[in-house]
């Protein structure tokens, strides 16, 4: 079960997996995720379903090694099994004909934004994607984006590829040039917050895919709670996508650092 059919490097520390999961492949919709465990006594980690093929019976995951479990996962090879995988979890993205949608992905976030971009394009939207990375090798899913988007704008911090600058600068430029009816973003918290601040003055509805720490992913523990419009919501069952203009990003960022001490004390695998 959950056999890895293919694994390849996408970027430094980022691996792309195709995993056998016929049922999830059939049921899942854009914006949903799975929870994976890769070893006995292991942690349950949420990973977005980046793509799927219902006929081929597989789903795709893109994993960035940031700590123990993601590092262990990225060492797995074709033919290995994921110990546990449950999903699809979370609310699917709202997919409608909005008009023009800008999809902004930062780093690994592009893998999270891609399935939404693909579904939005499938629903007839014009999709403009703005995908950022530290430098050229960190820009991922570009070819996939090109296959479904109207415009694709790679951006790098160091100018080694595409636009030299922040994704938000590029977003400003796009919004100045054409009407954008909706913005979707996924990536590092500071980036999502910056996107929200960029679109707020123009009143463009903006959705962020949040990544709080999770445990069960079924609404049972409340550990994934985020503050949206002053209310607590469980990201695993009410999200993970929320109105970016309402999200308390500062709190999310702090809560995600809750276990830094623990991680330092328990470091077992060197990333």
């Amino acid at each position: 079960m959950n056999t890895i059919l293919e694994v390849r490097a996408l970027a430094p520390d980022v691996a792309y997996f195709r995993v056998e999961a016929p049922k999830i492949a059939k049921r899942r919709r854009a914006g949903q995720f799975v929870i994976v465990r890769v070893e006995a006594e292991g942690e349950r980690i949420p990973l977005t379903i980046a793509d799927s093929d219902p006929d081929g019976g597989w789903i795709a995951l893109a994993v960035q090694a940031v700590g123990h479990t993601t590092t262990v996962m990225n060492r797995l090879r074709e033919g290995d099994d994921l110990l546990d995988m449950v999903g699809p979890l979370g609310q699917p993205s709202e997919i409608e004909l909005f008009g023009t949608v800008a999809v902004v992905g930062g780093g690994l976030g592009t893998a999270i934004a891609y399935p939404v971009a693909k579904a939005l394009a499938g629903a007839g939207n014009d999709v403009v994607s703005i995908i950022g990375g530290r430098s050229r090798p960190y820009v991922i899913f570009e070819a996939d984006m090109r296959a479904c988007c109207d415009e694709v704008h790679p951006c790098t911090d160091d100018g080694s590829y595409g636009f030299h600058g922040l994704v938000t600068t590029k977003l400003e430029e796009v919004m100045a040039r054409r009407t954008v009816d909706r913005v979707i973003c996924a990536g590092p918290i500071p980036m999502m917050r910056a996107v929200a601040e960029t679109t707020r003055p123009r009143g463009v509805p903006t959705i962020a895919s949040l990544n709080p720490i999770m445990v069960d992913g079924t609404g049972m523990c409340g550990g994934c709670r985020v503050s949206v419009g002053g209310e607590s919501r469980f990201a695993c069952v009410d999200g993970p996508e929320f109105d970016a203009h309402q999200v308390d990003f500062e709190l999310l960022s702090r809560r995600n650092k809750a276990y830094l001490d623990w991680e330092a004390e328990h470091k077992q695998v060197q990333p």
Binding site: G87, L89, M220, R255, E263
Partner: protein
């Protein structure tokens, strides 16, 4: 065995449960109670007056033939005792450990008036453990295959008990569980020191041996909907035993600070994910020497606060808005908690959880309460004492004020009737819901209740599922 007269029996002192030294158990998750050995069990059983009309049975939610089984124990007929218990209870090793006997069978025992009820729970536990460890009962043979297939959703006590009876009837049974481990609250909620996970495991292995198929990592409502089970997947009936797994929060400011856990999260990290073990990869906040405040007064609160003690908390306290007398927890757990050094702060209610600039919890602001008039269920209602507000340091807060039904399954099945509290509407005797072929029982129907009630509901539903599959009548 020498027959004792009634007078002699009444003179025997109750047989205390041997338990691990509190100082030792503060340091680990080993089970607190050691259990009776056969000698202790026989002595305790001999105290039973074998009443002509044993009213203890009325106190048992599933009507275990208590005096019969105790009589067998007194005669050292442990296998027979286990058989008698097994008629009514499919999870005796578990219920013997976690039932609130003091308000059920033992509360009804005639000797309770003298303050010396028979320790029925300890005896039930002894019988179940002894037989499991020495000469396990042969499970009843499964009836010839009926060709009918039943899906059981949720692997808590309700689902397990239901599956057990259905497989005996000859039906094909698949249990679907959302988590990666089976057992529901028995594995993710109730800690090892009260209910060793091996015991739950052996119940599940027994069911698997008898042909029950288990599918973990399967969330019904998202992977398959309930309707998919009845149509595409070809099940003839479905039992819903998904529990009440959505934690309630306090509704006071500061609940999202780092350091604030729901009891479900705290206990899941420890019990299911084994965060106390050095090898485990799921983190838990460092409690060593810290102040831990647990809000609530039930079994969940006791489990949480005693877990905090074991994680090295400097001060682990229960903050409850009524008094010790109103606390719904099992008395044994309260006594164990006291022996382990848990502080009980009674008549306080949270107003605010206080954080520092990094959004980390540093304290709680509490309102002192007093008891007023009794409310509908007869418990005196707590009310605030005007102006009596104080603050207390806290590094970790655990909120253990109950759970409500998880809407995950029900919201994808709109034609199932629900109450305004979100619980599933199902007939008490048959578990039948508003949807043909769909049954329910346990916490999803009652709201957070008990293991034995869930077990009983699962069994009654199994009987009714059997009838439905035989007759097709709804």
């Amino acid at each position: 065995m020498t027959e004792l007269t009634k007078r002699e029996r009444m003179k025997l002192p109750p047989t205390e449960m041997p338990e691990r030294d509190p100082e030792i158990r503060r340091t680990g998750f080993m089970e607190v109670n050691f259990g009776y050995d056969p000698d202790l069990a026989v002595i305790e059983a001999q105290r039973c007056l074998l009443c002509a009309r044993p009213i203890c049975i009325d106190g048992c939610p599933v009507g275990i033939r208590i005096s019969d089984f105790i009589h067998h124990v007194a005669l050292e007929e442990f296998t027979e005792a286990a058989e008698v218990i097994g008629i009514d209870n499919s999870l005796p090793a578990i219920c013997g450990r976690v039932c609130a006997q003091e308000v059920q069978c033992e509360g009804a025992c005639v000797l309770d008036k003298k303050g010396k009820p028979i320790h029925i729970g300890h005896l039930e536990r002894f019988v179940a453990d002894f037989v499991r460890e020495n000469s396990p009962l042969e499970p009843p043979p499964n009836a010839p295959p009926t060709g009918k297939r039943v899906a059981v959703v949720g692997s808590g006590p309700a689902g397990l008990a239901c599956a057990s009876d259905l497989i005996t009837m000859g039906h094909e049974v698949t249990v679907f569980e959302a988590l990666h481990e089976l057992g529901g609250v028995l594995v993710y909620g109730i800690p090892e020191f009260r209910l060793p996970k091996d015991i739950v495991r052996s119940e599940i292995d027994g069911l698997a041996d008898r042909g029950v198929e288990f599918r973990t990592n399967t969330v019904i409502g998202s992977l398959d909907t309930l309707d998919d089970l009845l149509t595409e997947e070809g099940y003839d009936a479905v039992f819903i035993g998904v529990g009440a797994g959505l934690p309630k929060f306090l509704g006071v400011p500061g609940e999202n600070l780092i350091g604030v856990y729901s009891a479900n999260e705290f206990l899941t990290r420890i019990n299911l994910m084994k965060a106390y073990s050095a090898k485990a990869q799921t983190p838990i906040l460092d409690m060593r020497g810290k102040n831990v405040v647990v809000f609530g007064g039930g079994n969940t609160a006791m489990d949480a606060v005693r877990t905090a003690v074991r994680l090295g908390a400097g001060r682990a306290s229960i903050a409850y808005r009524r008094t010790m007398d109103e606390m719904p927890a099992r008395v044994e757990e309260v006594h164990h908690a006291q022996a382990e050094g848990v502080v009980f702060d009674m008549l306080v209610s949270p107003l605010e959880l206080l954080g520092n600039d990094d959004s980390r919890l540093v304290g709680v602001r509490l309102q002192r309460m007093e008891l007023g008039e009794p409310d509908d269920d007869g418990r005196r209602r707590p009310k605030p004492i005007e102006g009596d507000i104080f603050e207390q340091p806290a590094d970790v807060v655990v909120i253990a004020i109950g759970n409500v039904p998880n809407p995950l399954l029900l919201r994808t099945t709109p034609d199932l009737d629900r109450t305004k509290w979100g619980t599933l509407v199902a007939d008490t005797d048959t578990g039948r819901t508003s949807k043909k072929g769909v049954f329910g029982g346990g916490d999803i129907v009652t709201g957070g209740a008990t293991v034995i009630l869930a077990m009983g509901a699962g069994r009654r539903a199994a009987a009714s599922i059997g009838e439905y599959l035989a007759t097709g009548e709804w």
